[in-house]
Symmetry: C2
Subunit: 467 residues, 2 copies
């Protein structure tokens, strides 16, 4: 029930998706060990899984996967998928798959009534494109084709299906069209009109989807929806598979939350580690826990107070800082993001920070047994936790992101842990920790100033508005 | 601009309000030192201010206040209000005010076009009633009168205007009606029809609002909107003023967030303090800061490590725990709630908690100079802050309140500070702090368990839903 409610809240109806997975994909076979193309693994999940999960993220819960080549193997595999993903997935056989992908779309006609989404199993795409197609559907009396105007950025433009546009109307489609206005992104929001058009094209000897679409164009029954800067990729060759891998990794390994160190040092490394971890069965939450344990090891080594251990501790916490990116990256790569994971990650990070600060304080206290050392430790612990706390509280009170600004750059976790690594290298972890702790408190004061100013601005706005 | 946007987002149009403040209010004059009734102070603000601010909270930005008795004094006062509250407030004179409150409503007719809200300056009410009237307006082709079916709970039923209902239709209105179905709550959503009806009633010698409403009933042009369990109060006599004061204090001094100690010990005291503070110019934020300083004094006294100071410290932090309720109570009483205040209160509470834990640790360390004392202190500090942190993070991730349950009752601030007072009385503040710190960490584990279970439930729900 939970998911149904969420789907409805997003303003999306329950719409079935037809996914075409019948072709041979011979160009990819060389590079994937002879697997059927839809079963080609890409960063831990197959192309077909990725297509289904992308649609699921946009709220789709009912799938028809059209199979042809390697039929038996595919049907067996598809039956598994629905159970695993908590959605309805059904295999649809197309004995005529060799005649073209239009016949595959046609094979789904007994299963869908009314509108449906049509996707290709070898296309990767931003789930947001589907959301926009569904939104655009309500106003439209025709089929909608997602098109991309960034023709200069297509990986293999030669192989792409091009379209010519007149406003939102499509005037021509095909591989050989020049001049071209945009490229077919492989996502359609279809009405049953498509089946008639495909039927006619097939009778005329053209079994391709493009053939059907050309007939829809003739009747003015298909329009374009521009995907703007949303991403999609077509995977046909070993080269485009490598490109897709690089692209996806770059896409998941960036976050608005990243500080300077995360952006320039941690992410380039975590991305490579994520590429390896994606192929294992390690879940994002397992990585989160593992990562905290590494942080705790670092805290313990700091507490020994000797340079060699301090050095190792510094390296461990920097490793943990790098791995801190991997759980989120894997989650986004494999569609395993969840609220529990986000909560766990943040809370365990805070515990690890406290342990590290306590370990550093203890290690320093061994040679400087003064109570002031512990007060300094309390100052740092408080700064580390409260820097994050005040930002969360700001997000809750103001229902928007906390203010940016230079002071905020110093109180991010990646910067903090890197500073401690530098402190460890210099054998001055305690002094650096106190410095970072102080900067954290200044960051909190900075948020205070921003919040206070904003409060005054809003009052001012309210006064001048009505006078 | 900010406020306009917020108003529109709530689905409310900009609607003017007419507030009747022309009467003599002779029954209250004895009890308020001869002030005009609308200027009678109630918990720091006058009745008229309260009426305007209640409407402003429901999104209304344009006010016409009809004055009659003490005209000059009132006009001068009203001109001030608009500037102070950042809304448009205009005084409307009614030279015929002695003929009845219907003539006062009529006096506003040159100023309003279309729908408007009609309220009485001597009525207190839940702003939510206005929001509901505005929502109900769109569907209705007639005036709407807010009515209260809880006739057994009216403070002075004799004096109230009663109505008889047939479904949502009003069939009779007046003070002497029996049997009665509900009581007029003094809030109308009016259409210009009302002015015609009042004009006719006036010509027939009836200058009362009830007279006009009776004529609307005759034409079927007024309907009732039930206010359900929302509050309203009519202030006519010194007794009803005292009743209103008690009622408002009880209303603002409770919160879902309150723990056991807050509910049964702190609130009954803070309510009395708020009643006194409301009459001063102390703002809620000033009380928040003052309160933190008292907490810091307590922390300092704890750090001295002697029983007499520890005892005083325990009492101070309990005082601070009580005052922690006052800022919110004053803010709600005087319509001074704001996001900055909420943020500041929470963040300063965390700083005070840290200082108290550090002070207790230091005081104990003076007689037990072991490093483990400080590790215990770090454990407690972490528990105190993270108990709150994990709940905030839960609210952000899950967009709902964190789970309740017994373990949560022990990690609320009121319980924590009271436990430390008990510890101070027993001269065992450190031991009690460690215990409370441990309980806080258990509370965090409890939220973890709840979040984890919920995650599994949701997955289960998703799976069974579609299979």
């Amino acid at each position: 029930m939970k998911n149904k409610t969420r789907t409805q809240r997003l303003g999306e109806e329950s719409l079935p998706a037809v996914i075409l997975a019948a072709g041979e994909g011979y160009r990819l076979r060389g590079g994937n060990g002879g697997l059927p193309k839809p079963l080609t693994p890409l960063l831990g999940i197959t192309l077909l899984e990725r297509a289904i999960l992308s649609c699921r993220e946009a709220g789709i819960r009912e799938f028809y996967v059209v199979v042809g080549c390697d039929e038996e193997r595919m049907i067996h595999y598809i039956e598994e998928l629905g159970r695993r993903f908590g959605v309805s997935v059904r295999a649809v056989q197309n004995p005529n798959w060799k005649e073209g992908n239009g016949t595959s779309a046609l094979a789904s006609s007994p299963y869908v009534n009314g509108s449906f989404l049509l996707a290709m199993c070898d296309h990767l795409f931003d789930p947001d494109i589907i959301r926009r197609l569904i939104e655009a559907k309500d106003g439209a009396q025709s089929c909608l084709l997602a098109v991309d105007r960034r023709t200069d950025q297509i990986f293999d433009l030669n192989d792409a299906t091009k379209v010519r546009l007149d406003g939102k109307a499509i005037t021509a489609i095909g591989k050989g069209i020049t001049p071209l206005d945009a490229v077919d992104a492989g996502l359609f929001l279809c009405r049953p009109d498509l089946f008639d058009a495909l039927e006619k094209a097939k009778r005329a000897g053209d079994g391709s989807l493009t053939g059907g679409v050309q007939r829809l164009i003739g009747k003015g029954k298909i329009r374009a929806m521009e995907i703007a800067d949303r991403f999609w990729l077509d995977v046909d060759t070993p080269e485009s598979l490598s490109h897709a891998k690089r692209y996806l990794l770059a896409r998941v390994s960036s976050s608005r939350e990243d500080g300077f160190i995360a952006q320039h040092l941690n992410r380039p490394v975590s991305r490579r580690i994520s590429a390896l971890l994606a192929d294992t069965r390690l879940t994002p939450n397992a990585i989160t826990v593992l990562n905290s344990l590494i942080g705790l090891c670092g805290a313990f080594l700091f507490s020994l107070g000797e340079y060699v251990w301090t050095l190792l501790a510094g390296l461990l916490i920097q490793l943990s800082s790098i791995l801190d990116g991997c759980d989120g990256e894997i989650a986004r790569l494999k569609f395993q993001s969840g609220r529990f994971g986000a909560w766990l990650d943040t809370v365990l990070d805070r515990y690890a920070d406290v342990a590290i600060a306590a370990g550093i304080s203890y290690g320093y206290w061994l040679t400087h047994p003064e109570p002031i050392i512990w007060l300094g430790g309390a100052l740092a612990i408080t700064g580390f936790i409260l820097a994050s706390y005040t930002k969360k509280e700001y997000a809750l009170c103001y229902r928007r992101q906390p203010p940016g600004g230079l002071p905020n750059k110093f109180i991010k976790r990646d910067v903090r842990l890197f500073a401690l690594l530098v402190g460890a290298l210099l054998n001055r972890p305690y002094e650096v920790m106190i410095l970072v702790g102080l900067l954290s408190h200044f960051g909190i004061v900075w948020i205070f100033i921003c919040a206070y100013r904003q409060g005054r601005h809003e009052l001012q706005g309210r006064k001048t508005e009505t006078l």
